[in-house]
């Protein structure tokens, strides 16, 4: 398969800009150290040629940006979507969060994105550049004479190790070959936690959530969190908080958020990617997804536009209240 490079994307984007099909491009802008790319809007071929980059660190999911950018910018926006991003894209369309007519979506295949903190855990601080060589990353540091070879697979982001689909569920145009929904082990860790005793489980989450600094990055990056005014930002709500008043509130924020995105979370993994405290937030969401799959039948948010999520559609086969508990006890 042809590897998608920055040059291919620049060429594509330049052609669409020049022909007037789109008026701007949502893409990744070069940083200082190779891995620190920033989502940016490009409106000319010169800008693309100067700053556009596509590498193993382009993990940011652009779908959510379409909510604000389609309102703000004139004309059509070109957006590049990885397979996982397309699920968020559809989910947002189901929720009528942006105007599909204002977007030109190009699906790009993806072999997984790298988690820079894993690279640093392997080679240490002081990275000066990162190149790719087959299945390895070649990491040059300020402290090693020769670049250090790091196995690409060993530094993949968690969500990419457990990738659920290489298939794009939405696009106007696809680059490369289409992939498939794939077998994955994303619920293994959830099952492990389910098997713990209630006390152990409490201790697990206590330890994880007590590290939260309430920066709200998880919420702000989440494509399912697109309320115009989050209840936690609204001084009139009575629960607005910049940091938890006590440890009960600390957990409440995460539990409320997990409930609010239940059935809408596509498991894109942005929350865990952005958390500065490395809290495994995806496990909370996956627990909800796993339960819904078991209780109401398999469901993947964002698979198609306009699907009825299990929690907002009633069928006579639905679980009776309380049955979840009995099922859990008999399973155990």
């Amino acid at each position: 398969m042809q590897k998608i490079t920055g040059d291919i994307l620049i060429e594509k984007a330049s052609a669409l800009l020049s022909s007037g099909t789109v008026s701007c491009v949502l893409g990744w802008k070069k940083g200082e150290f190779g891995y620190d790319v920033t989502p940016a809007v490009f409106s000319s071929v010169e800008e693309l040629e100067r700053d556009f980059v596509y590498n193993d660190f382009c993990g940011a999911n652009f779908s959510k940006y379409l909510v604000s950018k389609t309102r703000k910018l004139e004309g059509k926006i070109l957006v590049f979507l990885k397979p996982c991003d397309t699920y968020s894209f559809n989910q947002l369309l189901s929720e009528h969060r942006f105007d599909r007519e204002k977007v030109y979506a190009i699906g790009i295949p993806c072999e997984g994105m790298v988690d820079i903190s894993k690279v640093k855990a392997t080679v240490g601080e002081g990275i000066s550049s990162i190149d790719t060589d087959g299945d390895n990353l070649l990491v040059s540091t300020l402290y090693d004479e020769e670049p250090v070879a790091v196995d690409f697979k060993s530094v993949l982001a968690e969500r990419c190790i457990n990738c659920k689909s290489k298939k794009h569920v939405a696009y106007d145009e696809l680059l490369g070959e289409e992939g498939d929904v794939i077998e994955n082990s994303r619920f293994d860790e959830v099952a492990r936690i389910e098997a713990l005793t209630p006390d152990e489980r409490f201790a697990f989450w206590q330890n994880e959530l007590s590290r939260c600094i309430r920066c709200n990055a998880c919420r702000d990056a989440c494509p399912a969190c697109t309320c115009e005014k989050c209840v936690f930002d609204n001084p009139a709500s009575g629960v607005e908080n910049k940091s938890p008043a006590n440890s009960f509130e600390e957990k409440l924020f995460h539990i409320i958020r997990a409930y609010h995105v239940a059935g809408r979370c596509t498991d894109c993994g942005e929350c865990s990617r952005v958390c500065p405290q490395n809290i495994p937030l995806h496990l909370l969401n996956r627990k909800f997804i796993k339960d819904m799959n078991e209780f109401y039948g398999e469901y993947q948010a964002g698979e198609e536009v306009g699907m009825r999520a299990p929690l907002v559609s009633y069928t006579t086969e639905d679980l009776e209240p309380g049955e979840a508990l009995t099922r859990r006890d008999t399973d155990a």
Partner: protein, 342 residues
């Protein structure tokens, strides 16, 4: 100069912990480091720095200021203040030591913030020279020398030994109390260590970054720069940068209804938030561009304007590595200041 061998470091920690609570960077399971209370068996981390900065010790994320209880028609005001125990923070990097000076200028100027002041009085800082700075470090831009960290006591670590030098009376007293473990020595090894660090500093990618274009009096020139729009374009407004920053100092005071009374507490606030400094008339910064600009104008223009040209960034690099979209003060300095740092 005094020293002890690395094998004896736990003895040293135990001795310090006899008279004060000792905090030091400790490794977490995920590979990051965090300040934790030392107990027998706690291992000192080799990480360059902690994700959360040590400003937490003096300016915690939340703290109770006072409480209220209503009894019929009277309101009882409850003093919730707890005097801190004496504590020692070990292993503070040069950048973070400077951050305390920056906070002091805010919290210790009149009217003195007594909560902050009391923590400052009870704390002793033992700094640690850096041996392996990160590509994200740019302390030198602000005149900070990682080979010569300040604090009550400065420390240097080699493969086998740790060296100490006191800078204040508080620091000297502590070193004297550790006499049984420390031995006197000359400066040779520390000088060699410093030379090594300086050699590394000259290879850092941000070594030539300067503050050109910023400082007091620059408001008119850069406030309306069209570049703010572009720089803030994809900012999520999450506030991660402000919460990991050792010098961000803004807070809010809020009341928490406990059901039986009210606890008045203060908590960190962030200029990146939509309700920051919201007042009865509404908000004075309605777009993310304005909020984003505030953070950098404060660090690079307003603070120096009010504080003898001292910038309120210490170049620790935390916002560089933690921003979800990799936007940060270095990119702002290069774009707005026009200095490409090359």
């Amino acid at each position: 100069m005094r020293k002890c061998s690395l094998d004896k470091i736990n003895l040293l920690f135990a001795e310090i912990a006899k008279n004060a609570v000792l905090y030091l960077p400790v490794d977490e399971n995920d590979g990051s480091a965090v300040y934790k209370k030392w107990e027998d068996g706690t291992a000192y981390s080799n990480a360059l720095n902690t994700v959360r900065s040590p400003k937490d010790f003096f300016f915690p994320q939340t703290e109770n200021l006072m409480g209220f209880k209503t009894l019929g028609k009277t309101i009882e005001v409850i003093d919730t203040r707890v005097e801190p125990d004496d504590f020692v923070i070990f292993g503070v990097r040069a950048c973070d030591v400077r951050s305390f000076d920056i906070l002091d200028r805010v919290f210790l100027s009149e009217p003195v913030d007594s909560f902050y002041a009391s923590r400052r009085n009870h704390g002793i800082i033992i700094s640690m020279a850096c041996t392996r700075p990160s590509e994200t470090c740019f302390c030198k831009t602000f005149g900070i020398d990682p080979a010569e960290p300040q604090g009550d006591i400065s420390a240097w670590k080699t493969e086998t030994e740790v060296f100490f030098k006191s800078n204040t009376a508080k620091g000297e007293n502590l070193l004297t109390a550790l006499d049984g473990i420390l031995e006197d020595c000359d400066n040779n090894e520390v000088d060699a260590q410093k030379a090594k660090i300086n050699a590394v500093m000259n290879r850092l990618p941000l070594k030539n970054l300067t503050t050109d274009g910023f400082g007091g009096g620059k408001t008119a020139e850069i406030f309306d720069s069209p570049k703010w729009e572009e720089l803030s374009e994809s900012c999520l407004g999450c506030g991660t940068c402000t919460f990991v920053c050792p010098t961000c100092q803004c807070y809010d005071i809020k009341d928490f209804n406990t059901g039986t009374g009210v606890i008045r507490f203060r908590c960190w606030d962030s200029c990146m938030y939509s309700d920051f400094t919201k007042m009865a008339h509404g908000n004075n910064r309605n777009t993310q561009k304005e909020r984003f600009r505030q953070r950098f104008m404060h660090k690079l223009v307003y603070y120096p304007e009010n504080n003898e040209e001292i910038f309120s960034c210490v170049g620790c690099g935390r916002c560089l590595s933690k921003c979800p979209i990799s936007m940060n003060i270095v990119k702002v300095m290069k774009e707005i200041g026009g200095n490409k740092g090359e």
